[in-house]
Symmetry: C2
Subunit: 261 residues, 2 copies
């Protein structure tokens, strides 16, 4: 059996992106990681700020943005425009040959409009396909793909899609060809037992612990969907999944959360 | 001597981009062109509109945008975000495997900040390098690159760069490997002798005629820099240069302007 090459799939959240110094420091660290890598970024806070400046209402349900046509425009301007290109040029500065992508670019991520059940999320897409061969083609050219949280339906419609989910789907799809490590990087140290205590990191979460955490209702709202994305990836053969502070990218020994089945 | 493959480099202007039907029709026609192709788009009017909504002043000198830091953000949001991704997803709809790019993406176009002489244009970049091998790598993957008018300096700074110039520079750089045709597509039929008469197309412009036109002061302001870009491309071995209506992409027999040395 051929030994697979390693691939890092890292996702960074809004609190890193919106702090110029924290972002620059992360991008420098990320650029130093050897071997193939893919970056995925969020940016919800910037989108909300721009919407507010333009007098457009932002409606969130369970941390998910209700994406009207005009909110979609804002999402695309912010995620695919300002944030993605700031990150791409920031990586080029450190000689990392970044290529910014939405799912529409080179048709890399296809999604379906989320069906209306109880809530109409608007132009929100659920990922159906990651074109891993195209992504591998970019990586083989020495390129580092940088994804924002926008997908498309191949019929001319763009969608807002959760960045954590995109990271999980990309990591899963690439695991056929690579030994994939998936890092969710944010401002905290990991999954916290007690949100008031920034040091109360749960260092290992397996399926049993995950089930316990869901039942106990102790972890923050936004963390449950993130954990679901982690376990989805593990179920689809991603080798390692970590939730950690952005510094984890340069120092794998710091306290963090490791997920396993 | 090896016969070179043909490459189409087409630029579309703001009046096509900002009309949904005209844009969709152009993208459908463009997607039908066989063989390798590259699209470049402008979008100044959309940027001005967004600036105005945000209460940010737009200052133009000789048709060039004075690009302050906040104007640059607007340019990047509009060109690289909304317009570029609308065009990319619009091409994917017609099975054209488009990939949206700024110059920072995969480091394809490097520029220098325009030096201040009489006017400080702000974050405006003059192209120094087009990385033609990377572009060829994309084309070899079956991809159609779609450029917006944003470049970078490899040191983390994005720039606003004239889309006509980007088209000319790309066409010139690619002419080493391809037999390149460069089309400037817009809402008029070509270069007009009399701007009041939409039918007064000058069908051929060579260097002598170009010199005459510059002296006579008969053609519209924005057209002179466009003509300069055309002749720059011809001097750098681009095979054919045309200024034409967007319909020229599907019907090469319509009345238009052809440039030659």
């Amino acid at each position: 059996m051929k030994i697979k090459d390693k691939l890092l799939v890292a996702k960074i959240g809004g609190n890193i992106i919106e702090n110029n110094e924290a972002l620059d420091s992360f991008l420098q660290d990320f650029s130093k990681v050897k071997g193939p890598k893919i970056l995925i970024h969020g940016g919800g806070k910037s989108a909300t700020k721009l919407a507010s400046k333009l007098g457009i209402k932002t409606e969130m349900i369970d941390g998910r943005r209700i994406t009207s046509a005009e909110n979609l425009d804002i999402v695309v301007m912010t995620y695919a425009g300002l944030l993605n290109k700031t990150i791409v040029s920031g990586l080029q500065k450190y000689n990392c040959n970044a290529l910014g992508l939405t799912g529409a670019d080179a048709n890399v991520i296809v999604a379906n409009k989320r069906p209306v059940q109880f809530i109409d999320y608007g132009y929100v897409g659920d990922v159906t396909t990651v074109n891993k061969d195209t992504l591998k083609g970019f990586i083989d050219l020495g390129i580092t793909p940088v994804f924002c949280a926008v997908t498309h339906d191949t019929n001319g419609q763009l969608f807002n899609t959760n960045a954590d989910t995109i990271a999980s789907e990309i990591a899963s799809a690439m695991s056929t060809d690579y030994e994939v490590a998936l890092f969710y990087c944010f401002e905290l140290k990991g999954v916290l037992e007690n949100i008031e205590d920034k040091d109360s990191v749960i260092e290992h979460i397996d399926l049993e612990k995950y089930s316990e955490l869901r039942d106990q209702d102790v972890i923050a709202d936004g963390m449950l969907p993130k954990l679901k994305n982690c376990f989805d990836a593990l179920h689809k053969n991603v080798n390692k999944v970590h939730i950690a502070n952005a510094d984890f990218i340069k120092d794998n020994s710091i306290k963090h959360t490791t997920l396993s089945l």
